[in-house]
Symmetry: C2
């Protein structure tokens, strides 16, 4: 098998980072959406779902946008690789990558931050109410995976900033 | 007074954005550090400070780093303007601007997100305990100003990405 030309190297790095992002986000989504518990107060049983925590809802939105964007970018990259026209990439695409990576990385960062902040500060209050630790720990686990997805996207954002065509 | 040469325009835009960031962050800091309340439980009075909320502590760290970085950058820019050597700016400076703006904008975004997420989700729990709404509302106010500071820094990050010298 021949080695790919040098111009493909940054594209392959980006592809690997996008696949990693995708894996982290899907794992984060799976943990988040199965995060439920029950709370018993005076013989009444309440079901608590992740949707009852506002920060987790925002985290869900961030993950879903992140997955949609990442799938789109992987499709673009594969299309490019299959057609072997690495050199014909237009400036419009690079500008889209730049703003897309930037906006999505801010979304993932704020989603993880909101969930971690809310979980940390709610923990003593909810534990006193009798909410199981596993509910909050799954929230942490989901947010941590989202944070790893953010780290990959932040690296992609650095790559796409360097690839940006000069304005002048 | 002569109009500045064209090469000064992006520098002036950046300076205005940095001064705005500084103003938002100082206002956010002032509101956050004066955010205290008292809570009475069974004749015992507890003092609640912003430091008792973990997310607010992280927000404080983000604001302080943001202010320090912004002051440094304003000092660099003024030094540059006074010396009128806009053209001699080295690549090292541009790379520092790029990574600095990027890291600080992520810090400000996550600081605001953690504080807003925690405040929103703690509100029903703390209100039930008898914590005054003004404590949480001041938290929101501080986080909102921080969010405005983030928006300015995100714009600076776009500018510094475009100014980045090409790797190749």
């Amino acid at each position: 098998m021949p080695t790919p030309p040098p111009s493909m190297a940054p594209r392959m790095t980006a592809l690997i980072l996008r696949v990693l992002t995708f894996a982290f986000l899907v794992a984060s989504l799976a943990i988040l959406t199965t995060d439920t518990t029950t709370l018993e107060i005076r013989d009444e049983v309440f079901k608590i779902r992740f949707k009852d925590v506002y920060s987790y809802r925002y985290m869900l939105a961030a993950i879903v946008f992140g997955i949609a964007y990442t799938v789109l970018q992987v499709a673009f990259t594969l299309n490019h690789i299959v057609k072997r026209n690495a050199e014909t990439s237009g400036d419009g695409n690079l500008v889209f990558d730049f703003y897309g990576d930037k906006v999505i990385s801010y979304m993932l960062a704020t989603g993880a931050a909101a969930a971690i902040g809310a979980t940390k500060d709610m923990k003593p209050l909810l534990t006193a109410l009798g909410v199981s630790n596993s509910f909050l720990n799954k929230g942490y686990a989901s947010a941590s995976l989202l944070l790893l997805g953010f780290v990959c996207t932040a690296m992609l954002s650095v790559l796409s900033s360097y690839a940006l065509p000069k304005k002048v």
